[in-house]
């Protein structure tokens, strides 16, 4: 337990003033604008939107600036902001099959309808620091090619036509969609709740768990069936207007993992799948999410639960970096009373120890 302590108001005020000064840094260096952060640190912005669970580039950029680049602090700020606004409702589920694709790759088929589109990627770069970027660099205009008129169907839809992969779980119109922002987590958790939790989960935590499941802690040996990134239209059924209203588009990354088989006496064997979806261009996040989504399906698929990545209560209870930060960092708050009582107990124990050791010596001396 920690208790409120009085005093220190001036110190706190001055500490925050010093923080603002340090945040600004050397005043001879031009100040960062939100547009600069949103445009040039865009993957950091995407991460803050995804884990902050709020799609708004400008707010995420502001949070990054305020947090001095500490992304978990920025995520915390975004989460706190979302609590200040009313929710008008839920959108129609987005259709990633109609995405205006900017990147789309598959490690399972080289010739997929719509093609493999590398898009803006770090893949195949040499990971050598580029001194050109150190002082003012104006890149070439991007190359352009002829965009084919054909659609880009999801790779899993192509596999699904032949029944080679399990179908996605069908929507149940009567079942409400689980929402962890309204109801506390309950176990066992269904897949909709698990995916909501994973979508806002810490990328590093999911990356480590996904990695562990690949290395043998659980059974996960998938192919990246497809990763796609691009813009998806969002519609919202507004009660006042009475029809689905287009709200604009959001950038999403989707990952479909294709895993080994399930089957039974009555069902032919087929591939199973894991799914990842996140705001912005968040490839590592969605790949990790899809790995963990699949490993958390152990119970449903009759697999032995032996590893952390298969334990939904372990994963879901520790995936949120805002909650985790709160509990870890609360150790900084004054625990003076608690500590005093522990100190008192320790002194008593030490006295007893000393008394016990002294008594035989006195006995020896007397003999």
């Amino acid at each position: 337990m920690y208790v409120a302590v009085k005093g220190g108001e001036r110190a706190i005020e001055n500490a925050h003033r010093l923080l603002a000064h340090e945040r600004r840094g050397d005043r001879d260096v031009p100040e960062l604008s939100l547009a600069q952060i949103a445009e040039q640190l865009s993957l950091g912005v995407d991460r803050v939107m995804t884990e902050g669970s709020l799609f708004d580039r400008e707010l995420a950029a502001l949070a990054i600036k305020q947090a001095r680049g500490d992304l978990i602090e920025a995520i915390f700020l975004v989460r706190a902001f979302r609590a200040t606004l009313p929710r008008f409702g839920a959108t129609e589920p987005v259709d990633t099959g109609t995405m205006q694709v900017r990147r789309r790759i598959s490690s399972t088929f080289k010739d997929i309808p719509g093609g493999q589109i590398l898009g803006p990627t770090f893949d195949y770069t040499h990971r050598l620091l580029d001194p050109q970027l150190a002082d003012g660099f104006s890149p070439d205009e991007p190359a352009t090619g002829e965009a084919p008129a054909m659609a880009t169907p999801r790779v899993t839809d192509i596999l699904g036509r032949d029944g080679l992969i399990e179908p996605s779980p069908a929507a149940d119109a009567d079942a409400p969609v689980a929402d962890l922002t309204r109801e506390p987590l309950n176990f066992p958790a269904d897949r909709d709740l698990r995916l909501q939790n994973l979508a806002r989960a810490d990328e590093g935590f999911l990356l480590a768990l996904g990695y562990s499941s690949q290395r043998g802690y659980g059974r996960n040996h998938p192919f990246a069936g497809e990763i796609r990134f691009g813009e998806v239209e969002v519609e919202f059924i507004a009660e006042d207007a009475g029809f689905a209203i287009p709200l604009g588009s959001i950038a999403l990354t989707e990952c479909q993992m294709v895993n080994q088989f399930k089957g039974s006496a009555t069902e032919a064997p087929c591939f199973t799948r894991g799914y990842g979806l996140a705001f912005g261009q968040s490839e590592r996040k969605t790949m990790s999410m899809a790995l963990v989504d699949r490993s958390l399906r152990a119970r449903e698929l009759g697999e032995e639960v032996v590893a952390p990545g298969q334990d939904e209560e372990f994963v879901m209870s520790h995936s949120d970096n805002v909650q985790a930060t709160g509990f870890v960092e609360h150790l900084k708050l004054p625990h003076y009373v608690d500590f005093q009582s522990e100190l008192g107990l320790l002194r008593k124990l030490r006295q007893e120890f000393a008394d016990a050791n002294e008594a035989p010596q006195m006995q020896e001396a007397a003999e």
Binding site: M49, T50, S53, L54, F55, D56, E58, R82, L85, P86, R87, F88, G89, A90, T91, E92, V94, Q100, R102, R103, D111, Q116, I117, G119, P142, A143, T144, G145, E146, A147, R154, T156, D157, S168, P169, A170, A171, V177, D179, R191, D192, L195, A199, R200, G230, E233, V234, A238, A241, A244, I245, P246, L247, G248, I250, L252, E254, Q256, Y275, F279
Partner: protein
């Protein structure tokens, strides 16, 4: 029969409104306002003061399965009524309340026989063109990164 016709008209009206809203939601407030200057605006009042809020964005498990909650997005909304009675709604992603109001005004005008032609020609059409141009450019940039695989054939030559 008359009922069917009315329904068809209503659907047609709704499709037109939706198509206009899709373009407007993709446009910047400053551009919408700029194009609206070409029209003498009808008298109107706020039915709903422009306001900010959130929507929960939903995805589908596996892309095509049961829905799940992905995360929220900021939205703005507004509603206006023309003095002639048409009610327009404005919804858009983001926190630009002025843009929501402009969309609501356009939506009301799209429903008005007097203004529909002007708003389609002066506002929606040029904004649609700009939107398509931007999309095509992005698609062309992506297309240039399409991989042309070829398989090495062994034992030739």
């Amino acid at each position: 029969m008359a009922g069917d016709e009315r329904l068809a008209n209503e659907d047609g009206g709704q499709a037109r409104r939706k198509a206009a809203m899709a373009v407007l939601a993709h446009s910047e407030a400053v551009d919408i306002a700029g194009h609206l200057k070409a029209i003498a605006l009808p008298a109107h009042e706020d039915l709903r003061e422009p306001e900010n809020g959130l929507v929960m964005v939903r995805g589908r498990i596996g892309g095509d399965g049961a829905p799940f909650n992905l995360g929220e997005a900021t939205v703005s909304r507004a509603a206006v009524r023309l003095s002639t009675g048409e009610v327009g709604f404005g919804y858009t992603l983001g926190r630009d309340r002025h843009k929501a109001k402009l969309i609501a005004l356009c939506d009301a005008m799209v429903q008005s026989d007097e203004f529909v032609a002007a708003v389609e020609a002066e506002v929606i059409a040029p904004l649609r063109e700009a939107m398509i141009e931007k999309r095509s450019r992005k698609a062309a940039e992506a297309a240039a990164t399409r991989v042309d695989f070829y398989t090495m054939v062994r034992g030739e030559g």
